[in-house]
Symmetry: C2
Subunit: 260 residues, 2 copies
């Protein structure tokens, strides 16, 4: 550790103030070695790291000891920081010349509230960068060795969530659950009866296989193979989890042989 | 470089043969620093790396000089290796005791033909692992600072492709292009007229904004902001590219004030 005995060393250097920046960094699903090299670089170069409750301890351990870290998530008995407070805090830190990293689990662009933070940065003319990360659907599929698309069976991937604003027609799964689709549902573990209901209404039979993987790439990782019919009682696996439903295409009939 | 003058050094060591393995590694979109730490670890530990044409040169430069590399993609004037030949080659290498890395652009679980290679490994009782990567939709969204979901506007992400088997009803975009959806279309640049036609039939107006980003995170990266009406003539951006269409929710009417 460097100890500055001269108070001047603690004051900003002379000259124009350094311009701060905001970097939204995807931390991936949990394991520290699923960060990208770029994410690690930005974390090491940061002056301050704002992180929330879904970022795993193994990832936080990568933040250098001397770097300020600010927890903006929920702790027992305390409320989550509202988004507006997070926006204000990262902007204030950047305006004071700091390199700000806003560390988010998974990929910042998928259910990461990135749009608000990008808008806040731009409103103050602060340079902003997004470092993409491995999203939970990719990480879960890798752990299960069960790809999200499979030639001839599932040729599209739908990532949806069950956490929306009150009053939203939140899922609309009936439209999405079409043959040839893999559904990956994020943040849906406390709404399993609604998921079950919507998928049944889409015409999926009760024996449709459903796979759930929770706490992906952490020591608490857990998996469950179930069916649509049993899904509503499967909430015990905990959060965060991804629910996979693979709706394979119906095989097309083979073309008739051409008659000579 | 180590030169083995003793031929015995080239023979396998005594004792039981080492068990080979197959690891499907996601290389991310292009830039070498968007590999995960785990991907880099597996590449460095490999005996042989099989890679195809979409893996960027910057990523290939991470393969240690002494590691055998096998190109299984298309070169001008030559055909792509058929999938069955790739399956057979990685299995043969693993059965001879080698640690095989099968390096794929993006995430192996999304349009990566991973299912076939996992099945081939399992059919021969070869240990298989998948290392997830940053998929092109995440990387493109990060480069554009344009998240894939946005609270209240787009709450689901649909990843679809236009490269299917002949005769497939390939896109089905009319079902998917619903309010609240971000569409990310992979491998669709040579089917822009069909994309335009399907999205029009889904009721999207011609002034719907469309963003295209090609060769993401490579020196050739290119971007285009266009509209659905102009889309069919926008094929000049080249491959590989992602087409983003954001179909925002219609704003819900504000609740009526409660009358006292």
């Amino acid at each position: 550790m460097t100890v500055h005995t001269d108070p001047a060393a603690l004051r900003p250097a002379a000259g124009p103030p350094r311009r701060g920046s905001i970097c939204l960094v995807g931390a991936g699903p949990g394991a520290a070695d699923l960060l990208t090299l770029r994410a690690l670089d930005r974390i090491r170069a940061a002056d301050v790291v704002f992180y929330d409750r879904l970022v795993d301890l193994a990832v936080l351990a990568l933040i250098p000891l001397g770097t300020r870290r600010v927890f903006v998530g929920k702790t027992p008995g305390h409320h989550t920081w509202p988004q507006e407070r997070i926006d204000a805090a990262i902007v204030a830190a950047a305006l004071s010349g700091r390199r700000v990293v806003r560390l988010k689990s998974g990929d910042p662009s998928i259910f990461g509230r990135a749009a608000e933070e990008i808008a806040a940065a731009r409103a103050h003319d602060i340079p902003v960068e997004v470092v993409p990360g491995v999203t939970a659907a990719s990480a879960g599929a890798a752990r299960l060795c069960q790809p999200l698309t499979e030639r001839g069976l599932t040729e599209r991937l739908v990532i949806a969530t069950a956490t929306c604003r009150p009053g939203d027609d939140w899922l609309g799964l009936a439209d999405l659950a079409r043959p040839g689709t893999t559904l990956a549902l994020y943040m849906a573990m406390n709404r399993l009866p609604e998921v079950q209901d919507q998928l049944r209404r889409a015409g999926l039979p009760d024996d449709t296989p459903v796979e759930i993987i929770a706490a992906i790439e952490t020591p608490a990782e857990a998996r469950l193979q179930t069916t649509l019919g049993r899904l509503s009682g499967d909430g015990g696996l905990g959060h965060p989890a991804i629910i996979f439903v693979r709706i394979a295409k119906v095989a097309a009939p083979a073309p008739l042989p051409v008659q000579a």
